[in-house]
Structures are given as structure tokens and as C-alpha cells.
């Protein structure tokens, strides 16, 4: 054989042959590894077998949480930070001292959690938010979520005579439903969308916030004379425009128009109200009231230009106060208003605003301790936790109230006032959570963005958007929803 290794080891056997044998053994190992890899996609994992046993339901523990089972909570670490959740976790640990809570915060929700869903070992509570949000429609459609009805029907944390359901702001429960009664998602934050501006800048023009479009154009003209643009918006992400445009459509034509759009009904976009509003916005472009270069700005850049006083109005959500905190001057007097309408013939009064839940929390159906996840949410919906959130991150929560006795920031205060003024006239268009790609890329970037950059007329934009909507309605690779 002429092998050197055999000589070295004195006996034959530990040489090339062993090498080959070992390689063969490695090959054998790699076969199960392969099936492990493919298990990433196909291994269901034995569910229910390793679920925590439910504990005893008591007055203090209405959901019957197992007081020895661990609980895992993964939070999106975004504009709201993670402190509010850590505080709530501390309460959970205090209530269940034998339990170990595994808490983690990440910006990479999808890359961290998608494989775990795939393997059937997701955590017990997730804040599924941010740029890497997992598609809710798919999660619901594939039975990956727990119905949260038990949580909503449980007594609230502060008052045992009141159900959790009764302590919430309007629309929160409905937003978490897809079709039917079951509630899959719990939106913890409450966002006010609208037109944001500096009261100080408006005062300096000697103007009030305009209620009709003619007044709006007059205000913009006045601003222009003073060297200030009327509007700016996140030109690279024109799906911020709907924050004021959709409620305007609702105000002008009634909520039915928005519902028809959400339901992807044929010709929904051809409604006269849509046309009137598109033309109104296009007028801003044509008269040169939009800050120069806006179509090339991203959200941060446009917010900065606006905070520097280069433009008067910006369509945005209530997170803008936290997000732009470092560029908004002290004496800015940040305010939000419901969108300006066309004139007095509008269907709904001035004040009609878009407000809805944000920060979607979910409990996976394969969670080991689903009761624990829900209990954690119940704690977060206590008045104390809700106040803690509001004072820390300048945003409202799904808990109705909880603003007494804490110092509200200017934007938050104006948001609360806008909600009070709106009363029942709160609209909630669902395109942005039902059909993400349609809303953001197609309607937003390719439709509204092109129109506001002056590359499409309103009529062309409407035709294009209607085409996108019809396409989405026909596309059976996405799940379709309807307003109930």
C-alpha cells in the first residue's frame, strides 16, 4: 500500500482507510443535517404537546395564567423605545414571582421571528411592527395567531367590574379583526393622523387653520409671499399623503367612499369626492405651494425642512413629535388639525379625522404560554402602564383616557383636542394594513407621488390607481378583506 500513515501508527487500519471511513461518517451526518435544514420549511414541530398547562382562574388571575410557566415577549424597538414594555414586564414578574420572563427588543422582527414561526416555536407575545413587520394577513390566513377574545372579555386590570373591552378607544377591537368575530391583533398605541403645523408660524401669518380649500389656497398664497412654501411631504414615501388625503375624501364624500375603496370595489376611486380631493391637492402643486424639491425628500428630510420653517403644513402621524423632537424648535407650538375640506357641501363636518391603532401586538397560536402573553397585554392596558407609555413616548394608547394628571406635550395636547373635536367622526381607512404593497408602492409611490410631482394629472392618477386596485382585487395570491 505504501502508506506512510500506516507505518506511523504501527498497525494498519488507522490510515487512509480511516480517513475514508471518517469522511463517510461525515457524509452520514450531513444527511440528517440536510433534513434538518429542510425542516426549516417543512417541520411542523409537535404542537400543543409542550404547551404550558393553564393555571387556576382567580379574581387576580382571570386568564388562568400558569404561575410557574415561563413567558417570552419580543418587542419592536422603534420610535417608542423599549422602556415602557420593560416597566410592564416588571409588573408581570411581581405578580408571578416564580416565573422567568424572557424579554427582548429588536428592530429585526421578521428576520428574528420568521424562522421561529416556521419551526413552530414562536414567543408568547410579539410587537409585530416596524419596517420588518410580518404580514398579518398571511399569519391569520395560515392559523398562526391566537384569538384574543378571552383577553377582551377578561376583567380590566384596574376595575374587576369592567371588561378590558370596555376600557378601549373606539375602533381598536375592530381593527384587530379580519373577517368574522375573532380578534387577532391588539393595537396598543393610538395614532392621530392629520395635517401638522406650527401654530407660531400660522400666527405670524395672521391666519387660522383653514377649513375650506379656498381658505387653504389663500393661506398658502400668503405664506408664499413671505418666502415659505405651503406644503411639504415625504416625497420618497408619498404614502404619507393619504394621512390627510383619505380623511378628506371621507369628509367630502362620506365614509362609504372610503369603505368602497378598502373593499376594492370596482370604480371606487372614480367617485366625485375622490376626484375633487385629488384636484384640490394637485392645485397645490400647480400653484407652486409645494416646497421645491419635495419629491426627492425622504420622511426625515421633509420633516426637518418643515421644522425649520421652510414649509407650513405636512401630512403625518402623531409619532412625528417623538421622531422630530431634535429638530423641532422649542417655541414651535406643534399642532395637528383634521384635514381641510372642499366647502360647506361636504358630507361630514370639519374635524373629521383619521385616528387608529398602532403597534400591533400578537400572540402566536403555537405559543407555549398564550395566557401569559395575554396577561402581559392586560397589564399594559392598566391605567398606570398606559400613563407611563404616554408620558414616556408622547403617544396615546388604546386605553381610553389615561391622560389625566400627566403633563402633555404640545403635539399630544393638540391631538387629544382634535380627537375631542372629531367626536364620532373618526375614520379608519384600512388599505395600509390590509394591502401593504397596493397602498405604499402602487397608490402611494406610483400614483399619488407621481401626481404631486406633476407627472400625472388627477384624472390620469385616478385611472392608474383604479387599475392597481382592480389588479389587487383579481390577484388571488393576496387575501381579500371587506368592511363588516
Amino acid at each position: 500500500m505504501g502508506s506512510t500513515s500506516a507505518e506511523n501508527h504501527g498497525t494498519e487500519g488507522v490510515g487512509r482507510r480511516d480517513l475514508i471511513k471518517r469522511s463517510a461518517a461525515l457524509g452520514l451526518i450531513s444527511v440528517p443535517t440536510m433534513s434538518f435544514l429542510s425542516a426549516c420549511a417543512s417541520g411542523g414541530g409537535g404542537d400543543s404537546g409542550d404547551k404550558a398547562k393553564a393555571g387556576k382562574k382567580t379574581a387576580k388571575n382571570p386568564l388562568g395564567v400558569n404561575d410557574t410557566a415561563g413567558m417570552e415577549f419580543v418587542l419592536f424597538d422603534g420610535g417608542f423605545g423599549k422602556e415602557y414594555a420593560e416597566d410592564a414586564v416588571k409588573v408581570y414578574e411581581k405578580n408571578f414571582p416564580k416565573v422567568e420572563v424572557k424579554f427582548s427588543a429588536t428592530q429585526k422582527i421578521q428576520s428574528t421571528l420568521q424562522p421561529r414561526f416556521n419551526q413552530g416555536t414562536p414567543p408568547d407575545l410579539i410587537d409585530n411592527s416596524g419596517a420588518e413587520q410580518m404580514d398579518m394577513g398571511v399569519l391569520v390566513g395560515k392559523d398562526q395567531l391566537t384569538d384574543l377574545t378571552p383577553l377582551l372579555d377578561a376583567p380590566s386590570y384596574d376595575d374587576p367590574n369592567k371588561k378590558v373591552r370596555d376600557t378601549l378607544r373606539p375602533g381598536i377591537v375592530e381593527m384587530g379583526q379580519f373577517d368574522g368575530e375573532k380578534v387577532w391583533i391588539f393595537y396598543y398605541a393610538y395614532t392621530v393622523y392629520g395635517v401638522w403645523y406650527s401654530q407660531k408660524a400660522l400666527d405670524s401669518l395672521d391666519e387660522q387653520y383653514p377649513e375650506t380649500w379656498d381658505q387653504m389656497l389663500a393661506v398658502c398664497e400668503k405664506a408664499k409671499k413671505k418666502g415659505m412654501a405651503g406644503w411639504t411631504y415625504a416625497g420618497k414615501y408619498p404614502y404619507y399623503l393619504p394621512f390627510s388625503l383619505y380623511p378628506m375624501i371621507g369628509k367630502v364624500g362620506g365614509v362609504e367612499v372610503l369603505d368602497a375603496i378598502d373593499n376594492l370595489e370596482p370604480n371606487a376611486w372614480k367617485h366625485p369626492a375622490v376626484k375633487a380631493c385629488f384636484e384640490a391637492y394637485y392645485e397645490l402643486y400647480k400653484k407652486g405651494y409645494i416646497l421645491k424639491g419635495t419629491p426627492g425628500l425622504d420622511h426625515i428630510q421633509s420633516q426637518t425642512a418643515w421644522a425649520e420653517g421652510k414649509a407650513l403644513f405636512i401630512p403625518n402621524g402623531s409619532w412625528v413629535e417623538n421622531e422630530s423632537a431634535n429638530v423641532i424648535p422649542e417655541d414651535f407650538a406643534l399642532s395637528v388639525s383634521a384635514p381641510t375640506g372642499i366647502d360647506s357641501s361636504d358630507k361630514l363636518p370639519f374635524g373629521t379625522i383619521w385616528a387608529s391603532g398602532g403597534e400591533p401586538f400578537i400572540v402566536p397560536s403555537k405559543a407555549k404560554n398564550a395566557e401569559g402573553g395575554m396577561e402581559q397585554l392586560r397589564i399594559m392596558l392598566s391605567e398606570a402602564s398606559s400613563k407611563n407609555f404616554t408620558s414616556k413616548v408622547k403617544s396615546l394608547t388604546a386605553y381610553n383616557g389615561g391622560t389625566d394628571g400627566i403633563a402633555l406635550t404640545p403635539g399630544l395636547k393638540s391631538g387629544v383636542a382634535a380627537l375631542e373635536k372629531a367626536g364620532d367622526n373618526v375614520v379608519n381607512p384600512r388599505l395600509q394594513d390590509w394591502y401593504v404593497q397596493l397602498q405604499k408602492e402602487k397608490i402611494g409611490v406610483s400614483g399619488l407621488g407621481e401626481m404631486m410631482a406633476g407627472r400625472l394629472t388627477p384624472a390620469e392618477a385616478i385611472k392608474k390607481i383604479q387599475g392597481f386596485a382592480d389588479e389587487a382585487a383579481k390577484d388571488d395570491s393576496i387575501k381579500h378583506y371587506k368592511h363588516q
Binding site: 461525515l26 457524509g27 450531513s30 420549511a41 424639491g293 426627492g296 409611490v445 410631482a453
Partner: protein, 308 residues
């Protein structure tokens, strides 16, 4: 004496081949397999759907747009980048005038400085480069429009990334800027190994710069150029184009889908829309395009090897 040879070789090759099969071949097979399912990527359940994903892809307007852009990237970027790099490398190494007492073949004045300048972008991560240029392209306060204003061109204030007619070119320019330096260094190394006598002979025969380049340098550098070509094309189809488009442009995917590329579309379908199976289908198409690109370049570029 020879009978153990193959077993011996196989013994050594088994491990790397196994690893290669496991981490390279197997995922390919898996992706192709998943492209025939309706897997979402968010749950372990899926079923076979035959060629549904493929027929859907053929009807998908955005897929065609992304394919078009990817092809443009793969064809145009190597031409521009390699052309520029060849020119720079030639000027740095060969293109200088003869100076008294200096070597016959030399680069232009300050060539070592230029080499560093060209290579510099290479030390920056593509993500940083993309971010920097996103700021530079800002139409309101970005460097480029500010310079235009500064030199009195107040009326020329393009929207750059916000303009569907410009966005794709703006993105490509960034890729050229960030990769050209690598090829300058690569070609410089290639030129350094060309014997100086050849250049001397050419000079004695009275060849100018252009003739020297096309008759001497390029033919002797052909192998390097060809590998560079394939390498650049694959970069342009894959990772680099993804990074710049994802970071710099709107949407992302550009205003009116003007910058969307295949690899970005794969990412969006798999990780935003929960359609992992469809994403793998587009991935398979990308694989085909990449292989076809490499094959075409290798075939067109086949030449007789010059020995020296």
C-alpha cells in the same frame, strides 16, 4: 501502487464537496422545489401548486420591469466601469510621458496618489456609500444641487432620485463610483506583469498612446478583463444593486418602479409580502439570468491566449 489513489483523493475531497453540496447545491435544489409550492415563509404549512408561480411571474408587470433594470445593470455597468478602470489604469501605469532619466514606461504625474484616490471608495461599505449619495442627491439641500446653485445654475435643480427618468442613472452612477477603484487596482496589477520591452518596442515603432493601449495592453490583459467583466456583472445583478436600490431610492423601488431590480423584488416578496414561494420563483429566474450572463460573456470573450 496506484490502486489507492482515487480513494485517497476522494477521501480528501469528500468533506469540502460535502460542505459545498450542503450549503450551495442543496439550497439551490430547495429553492427550485419551493418555487412549485405556495409556501408563505411565515408558517410551516404549504402545498404543491405546480407551475402557478411561474405563470404568475410571466404576467407580472413589476417582474418584467425589474428584469429589464437588472439586465440594464448587468450590461451597462460592466461596460462603463471596466472602460473607465482600463483608462485610469493605463494612464496610471503606462500613459505618462517619458521623463528625463526616468523609466521608459511610466504613468502620469502623481499616479500613486490617483491610485489611492480611486481605491478609496472600496474601503467604505456599500451601505455607507449609498447613504452618503442619498444625502448628496437630496434636491433641497444636497451637495449636487447646491453646487449647481453655487455655479449659477439656479434653474437646473433636478429631483434626482425623485425623478423616474433620472433615478436609475443616479443609482448606477453610484455603483460605478464605488467599484471602479477595485478594477483600477486589478488592472494595474495586470499591467505590471506585462514586460516593459513590449512597450519599448511599440514606442520605438512610433506607436501613440491609443495604439499602445489597443494593440499591446488590452490584448495582453484580456483574461483579467474578462474575469472582471463576469465579476462586475454578477455584482450588478446581485448584492450591490440590492443595497443601493434598497437604501437610496423611493418606495423602495423608485418612483413609479423606475429603479426596482430582481434581487430587491425577491426580498420584498419573501420578507414583506409573505410570499416566499413566489420569491423563490423570481430567484430561480435570477439564477437563470446570471448563468446566461456568465455564459454569454465567456463565449463572446473567447480568444486565443497570448503567451509572454
Amino acid at each position: 501502487m496506484q490502486h489507492g489513489k482515487y480513494r485517497f483523493i476522494v477521501g480528501f475531497l469528500a468533506l469540502p464537496l460535502g460542505l459545498y453540496a450542503l450549503f450551495v447545491i442543496w439550497p439551490f435544489i430547495q429553492s427550485i422545489y419551493y418555487s412549485f409550492t405556495d409556501w408563505t415563509g411565515l408558517s410551516p404549512e404549504f402545498k404543491m401548486v405546480g407551475f402557478d408561480n411561474y405563470s404568475r411571474m410571466l404576467d407580472d408587470e413589476i417582474f418584467w420591469k425589474s428584469l429589464q433594470h437588472s439586465l440594464l445593470f448587468a450590461l451597462l455597468l460592466p461596460v462603463v466601469t471596466i472602460g473607465l478602470a482600463l483608462f485610469f489604469a493605463f494612464m496610471i501605469n503606462v500613459g505618462g510621458r517619458k521623463r528625463r532619466n526616468g523609466p521608459v514606461v511610466t504613468g502620469v504625474r502623481g499616479s500613486s496618489f490617483y491610485k489611492i484616490v480611486y481605491f478609496f471608495p472600496q474601503v467604505l461599505s456599500i451601505a455607507i456609500v449609498a447613504l452618503l449619495f442619498a444625502f448628496a442627491y437630496n434636491p433641497d439641500s444636497g451637495a449636487i444641487n447646491s453646487i449647481l446653485r453655487g455655479i449659477g445654475l439656479d434653474d437646473v435643480q433636478p429631483l434626482w432620485l425623485g425623478d423616474p427618468d433620472l433615478a436609475l442613472w443616479a443609482v448606477m452612477a453610484v455603483l460605478v463610483w464605488s467599484t471602479v477603484g477595485f478594477f483600477v487596482v486589478l488592472f494595474s496589477a495586470g499591467m505590471a506583469s506585462i514586460p516593459a520591452e513590449m512597450y519599448e518596442a511599440a514606442l520605438l515603432d512610433g506607436a501613440g498612446r491609443a495604439t499602445t493601449f489597443f494593440r499591446v495592453t488590452l490584448p495582453l490583459l484580456w483574461d483579467t478583463v474578462q474575469s472582471g467583466w463576469v465579476y462586475m456583472g454578477i455584482l450588478a445583478l446581485g448584492a450591490e444593486s440590492f443595497a443601493v436600490v434598497q437604501i437610496m431610492t423611493t418606495g423602495p423601488g423608485g418612483p413609479d418602479y423606475s429603479t426596482t431590480v430582481m434581487v430587491l423584488y425577491v426580498y420584498q416578496k419573501a420578507f414583506r409580502d409573505g410570499q416566499a414561494a413566489y420569491a423563490t420563483t423570481i430567484g430561480v429566474a435570477l439564477l437563470v439570468v446570471t448563468l446566461a450572463f456568465a455564459a454569454v460573456v465567456m463565449r463572446l470573450g473567447r480568444r486565443e491566449r497570448l503567451e509572454y
